[in-house]
């Protein structure tokens, strides 16, 4: 196929610039020594990174988000793997409807999910608890998990499982020793995507957070709502750099397009 012409490449450069600009600006402005957000500035300073490191609220929120992401991604794997097995491998009445239900949170506005869960969980005294946040995030991240595990199962050669069975392996042994290892890339990709989605989730969490259980995006959003000093930039820059490093390392095993769609690269 012919290569891209100069016009196409110029378009591409502009596009990449558009995508990168807000992120680069945040990283740049986090090194200002001034008390306000301004570019350009002279002299690199770590003033606001130190302010961030000394801010116990933000650090506490970081740990809440980390725990929340790990717990909800892991629970999501536990419910999504059997569900994906049923959907991909079996034919049963209501299968299409259940499959649609599993991915439906992708289409439901997060504000709706947030108000619904606030209303529902406060009836059980769970609004503002870690458990409530986990329940909410579980539903938000499971569609990604289902999609990646299902993609892994679809490309799995079921003759391998039958071979194990014919050699006398029990039902659970086949799953544990043959199926699970073979779909592990899908499970791992799903877990990572679920974790990142949970770690970044704002809107649903906003309704369910409490002073002791405030995930990082909620902390950042409410802080920006009050004031915008360059500490916001240093927190944001930390998140950008963390994501960038994760993605570059991950890309060796799991190209980003495959991570996001579950499909193999063309």
């Amino acid at each position: 196929m012919t290569r891209n012409g100069p016009l196409a490449l110029a378009f591409h450069v502009l596009f990449v610039l558009f995508m990168a600009a807000p992120l680069l600006v945040v990283v740049a402005v986090s090194f200002t020594g001034k008390g306000y957000l301004a570019l350009p500035f002279d002299g690199v300073s770590l003033r606001w990174w130190r302010a961030f490191a000394a801010n116990t609220d933000f650090l506490a929120s970081f740990w809440v988000s980390l725990r929340l992401g790990m717990v909800s991604a892991t629970l999501s794997a536990a419910i999504a793997i059997p569900a994906a097995l049923a959907i991909v491998r079996r034919r049963f009445p209501g299968r299409d409807a259940l499959a649609a239900m599993l991915v439906s949170p992708l289409m439901i506005p997060h504000v709706v999910l947030g108000v619904a869960l606030l209303r529902f969980l406060s009836g059980f005294g769970l609004a503002g608890s870690f458990l409530g946040l986990v329940a909410a995030h579980l539903v938000v991240v499971t569609p990604y998990m289902v999609r990646l595990v299902a993609a892994g199962l679809t490309s799995l050669d079921s003759r391998l499982e039958r071979a194990a069975e014919s050699l006398g392996a029990g039902r659970f042994t086949v799953f544990r020793r043959v199926t699970l290892p073979l779909i592990m890339p899908g499970v791992a990709g799903g877990w990572i995507l679920a974790f990142i989605t949970s770690f970044d989730e704002l809107t649903v969490s906003l309704f369910l957070a409490s002073p002791s259980q405030t995930p990082l995006p909620v902390r950042l959003f409410t802080y920006i709502d009050q004031m915008t000093d360059p500490m916001v930039a240093s927190v944001s820059a930390a998140l950008i750099l963390l994501t960038a490093v994760t993605l570059v390392v991950l890309d060796r095993f799991y190209p980003i397009d495959r991570l996001l769609t579950g499909e193999r690269r063309a």
Binding site: V26, L39, A83, V112, V139, V174, T228
Partner: protein
């Protein structure tokens, strides 16, 4: 376990296996408790009344919906929400589809890196990305400095807290999704198809318009629907770039729930938003996507 479900499925494992109902049980229970029941409860809440002194009133009627239907502020917010979503969708298609095509034609060496740059922002919190636009669009932000430097008349412009800022921020959030879905459909495309058209003398743009585009249309339309729904229900970006005055439906529901504390009215707004999204999805898949599939010769 239910009777009649134990028959081994064709093409799956050869002997009696765990019932699909057992496999579906954990996820179905979680979804029933954390998705279906809460949404049902919020729809029910939208039918109840509210009094600032006494809280939620135990009555059942459509008063909240009548209030919204006759509230000019809500009309304005509703119109803004769907206008912004439509503009964002159009821009995302206009720039996202060509970008996916350009990346598809890149040398594999560059492709991986460019995919990281273009799709990577999807994995950065929307709060962080929108904050970047707050820095860029401020009255003495880089955009205005650049405009002044090249002598654009009228600069600096007030860009923060305008619909322009909301659209720009949302395009940045959403356009990778279009690139992603189109990229995935391009990957499924038979490369021989494009080569055949080229060998018959078609120009690059003609190949794209006449051969590639019809084939990736399902991906394009799927991406468009996703972007429209997500833009219409977006909260963080409009709230941060639009300020308190330029409300959208999502931020209005948020306001009723967490500031005004009129939960029944907030529930009615949320219910309407959900209904609008479901309706848009239904109409789109029924009329637009089916037609595209039919044009491709796929029975739908």
């Amino acid at each position: 376990m239910q009777p009649g479900t134990r028959a081994p499925a064709r093409g799956a494992t050869s002997r009696r296996a765990t019932s699909p109902w057992v496999l579906m049980a954990p996820s179905t229970i979680v979804y029933a408790l954390v998705l279906l029941a809460p949404i049902a409860s919020v729809v029910a809440l939208s039918l109840q009344g509210f009094d600032f002194g006494r809280g939620i009133l135990p009555r059942w009627d459509l008063a909240n919906y009548v209030d919204l239907a006759t509230d000019p502020l809500f009309h304005e917010v509703l119109a803004r929400t769907f206008r912004v979503a439509a503009i964002v969708t159009a821009i995302c298609l206009a720039i996202g589809v060509p970008e996916a095509w350009i990346m598809h034609r890149m040398a594999p060496r560059w492709r991986g890196l460019m995919l990281l740059v273009v799709l990577g922002p999807l994995l950065v919190s929307v709060v962080v990305r929108t904050f970047g636009w707050m820095v860029l669009l401020g009255s003495n932000g880089l955009v205005n400095q650049a405009l002044e430097a090249i002598g654009v008349p009228g600069a600096p412009f007030r860009m923060m807290f305008t619909e322009f800022a909301i659209v720009l921020g949302l395009v940045h959030v959403m356009v990778p999704l279009v690139v992603l879905t189109v990229w995935a459909s391009l990957g499924r495309l038979d490369p021989a198809l494009g080569r055949a058209a080229e060998s018959l003398g078609a120009a690059t743009f003609t190949v794209f318009r006449r051969v590639v585009l019809p084939n990736i249309m399902p991906g394009v339309l799927g991406g468009a629907l996703m972007v429209f729904c997500l833009s219409a229900s977006a909260f963080a970006t409009p709230a941060m770039l639009g300020g308190r005055r330029l409300k959208v439906v999502a931020s209005m529901a948020y306001n009723e729930f967490l500031n005004t504390l009129n939960w029944p009215l907030g529930a009615a707004i949320a219910t309407l938003l959900l209904a609008a999204i479901l309706l848009a999805t239904l109409l789109w898949t029924r009329f637009v996507e089916r037609r595209a599939l039919r044009r491709l010769g796929v029975a739908a």
